[in-house]
């Protein structure tokens, strides 16, 4: 009796010691992991800071109201980037008009109407995922081959007796190419937003004798609208920064005038950066302009991303209120 009691106590003591050791080694692992991830985070922040500091230090002095409102002059060694900003705005607007309705409609079909197990639905989903993974230069070449040479030349042959109007790189083709590039962003974001709509709301609507269509358009889509908007903003911010898709489909090297019609070529800040850094006649003279353009581009995309974050936060708050 006494002997076994002693063993019991000894056993328990041993166990406590083991546990303490376990805890100590766990603590060590914890601390190591915390330090390692902290260092990695610091590195990322450092890289970002260096890039930003470099851009701001070299670009900010050149930035002025005139820079934003003047056309480039003297072989792009002076003047501003006004046509590029306007070109980007026009391209992005057209891209949104063309791409977002298609993307939203696709997402509504996929999430609300298509059977989740059908082969068609699955293949559409795979296609969307693959579309997101295609390198952007491939979109550029596709745009050149399909929009410019096939559709554009076709329009020229049919309506303009072969005169070259649409059969060359143009604002409309660049915007459509970019719309396809950003389609996956819109589809994925919209589907996500539709998924976040509580089942209870759909059921409430259906139980009142609403048809599926009425439920989707009166309850589900309004409830998902901020999510859809977030997707749109992210698509725009992606589109604003891309160069490759518009390289062959509509972006111009240099245009002192603003685009006049859908068949005009246009400048954008992203392509302008590429041109200034590779084709400049006078590197020293263009360098500050180059930096300032990069700064403007960064500010524009950063603003759009912040807007997306704000919209998403508001959506979450609203969703939280319903639950």
């Amino acid at each position: 009796m006494t002997a076994s009691a002693t063993t019991d106590v000894e056993d328990r003591h041993k166990l406590a010691q083991q546990l303490a050791q376990r805890t100590r080694s766990n603590l060590l692992a914890d601390r190591t992991l915390a330090i390692a991830s902290g260092v990695t985070l610091l590195m990322v922040l450092l890289i970002l800071t260096v890039i930003l500091a470099d851009v701001v230090r070299n670009g900010a002095p050149r930035l002025s109201w005139a820079f934003l409102t003047e056309a480039p002059r003297d072989g792009m060694t002076a003047g501003g980037i006004f046509p590029a900003i306007i070109g980007m705005v026009e391209m992005v607007l057209l891209m949104t008009l063309a791409g977002v309705p298609v993307g939203v409609a696709t997402a509504i079909y996929l999430h609300e109407y298509a059977s989740p197990v059908s082969k068609l639905t699955r293949s559409i989903r795979i296609a969307v995922a693959n579309l997101a993974g295609v390198p952007s230069i491939v979109f550029g070449l596709f745009g050149l081959g399909f929009f410019v040479q096939f559709i554009g030349s076709g329009i020229d042959k049919t309506f303009f007796h072969g005169e070259k109007i649409y059969g060359q790189p143009a604002l409309i083709w660049a915007a459509l190419t970019m719309a396809i590039l950003t389609l996956p962003v819109v589809i994925v974001a919209t589907e996500e937003a539709l998924r976040a709509v509580p089942r209870e709301l759909r059921e409430a609507s259906l139980a009142l004798g609403a048809t599926k269509f009425q439920t989707v358009f009166n309850v589900v889509v309004p409830q998902a609208s901020s999510g859809i908007l977030t997707g749109t903003i992210l698509a725009v911010s992606r589109g604003a920064g891309e160069v490759a898709p518009i390289l062959f489909t509509g972006a111009a090297y240099f245009l002192p005038l603003l685009p006049k019609s859908l068949s005009s070529q246009f400048m954008t800040p992203s392509y302008h950066v590429y041109v200034l850094s590779t084709q400049s006649p006078d590197v020293d003279a263009t360098k500050p302009i180059l930096y300032a353009t990069v700064l403007v581009l960064l500010i524009l995309t950063f603003t759009l991303n912040v807007a997306a974050v704000i919209v998403r936060a508001r959506m979450r708050r609203r969703a939280g209120k319903i639950a």
Partner: protein, 261 residues
């Protein structure tokens, strides 16, 4: 199961259910169930969790078919009209058989627009008619006095009990013949629950109410008829006073005396 009242058959039942069986995939969830639901009375469905009472309720206005993999067999008739069958539009059925859910689920719209929703999708455009119907529905659900000065405010600002009464008003606004209620008071405090129960009693003058409840006292308080479900089977169906005082089946007795569940 039909209930003989003094040897005479019941007046024509509002809903007739025969051999109703609901499957989720290959698994049978409930059935076969056969019972008659008497018009302008309250019928309660009781039983332990997972016994199939909610599934049964949702199959009365064809809400189950929204769940992928759900299959319904058997027959339900509303005033003699079958509600399952080829060519029968579930949307038309749901206009006649409304539903209130366990968790209040108002739309993120104004109080007025919540109640008006069913009217608007039903094609009523005249704003005066909508306003008067909204007022009537809110009065019926005993919410009018509390919200009449803030009809344009968001429904999300109401308390839980008020939201549930708003959902009842929303269901009543389209003037259904039958109102299905799936544990409508289970998420509410005792005072709000009392409000809802009182409301159910008043509604039974005009509507046929079928209510699922976990709470046996609630069934005893509000229901004229009670059906006891156990393990996906309708065990017993009778007038509430009979079921609670002289149950026929030992499982019913065990449940209502608190021996399980």
């Amino acid at each position: 199961m039909t209930i003989a009242t003094n040897g005479k058959p019941d007046p024509t039942p509002k809903l007739v259910v025969r051999g109703l069986t609901v499957f989720y995939g290959e698994k049978k969830a409930v059935g076969p169930v056969g019972l008659d639901i008497v018009g302008q009375h309250v019928t309660a469905l009781i039983g332990p969790s997972g016994c199939g009472k909610s599934t049964f309720l949702r199959s009365l206005n064809r809400m189950n078919e929204l769940i992928p993999g759900c299959r319904v067999e058997g027959e339900v008739r509303l005033d003699g009209d079958p509600i399952y069958g080829p060519g029968i539009d579930p949307v038309a059925i749901r206009r006649r058989i409304g539903m209130v859910f366990q968790r209040s689920n108002p739309f993120p719209k104004s109080i007025k627009e919540n109640v008006a929703y069913g009217l608007r999708i039903g094609g009523i455009k005249d704003d005066r008619e909508i306003s008067s119907r909204v007022e009537r529905a809110l009065t019926q659900s005993a919410l009018w006095e509390e919200v009449k000065d803030r009809l344009d405010e968001s429904a999300m600002g109401l308390s839980g009990g008020q939201q549930q009464r708003l959902c009842i008003a929303r269901a009543l606004a389209v003037e259904p013949e039958v109102l299905l209620m799936d544990e409508p008071a289970s998420a509410l405090d005792p005072i709000a629950t009392a409000h809802i129960e009182e409301l159910i009693n008043e509604l039974s003058a005009e509507y046929t109410v079928v209510i699922v409840t976990h709470n046996m006292q609630q069934a005893a308080r509000v229901a004229d008829y009670t059906a006891f479900f156990y393990l996906g089977e309708l065990v017993e169906f009778d007038r509430t006073d009979v079921l609670f005082t002289k149950p026929n089946d030992s499982r019913t007795e065990d449940y209502i005396t608190g021996r399980f569940g």
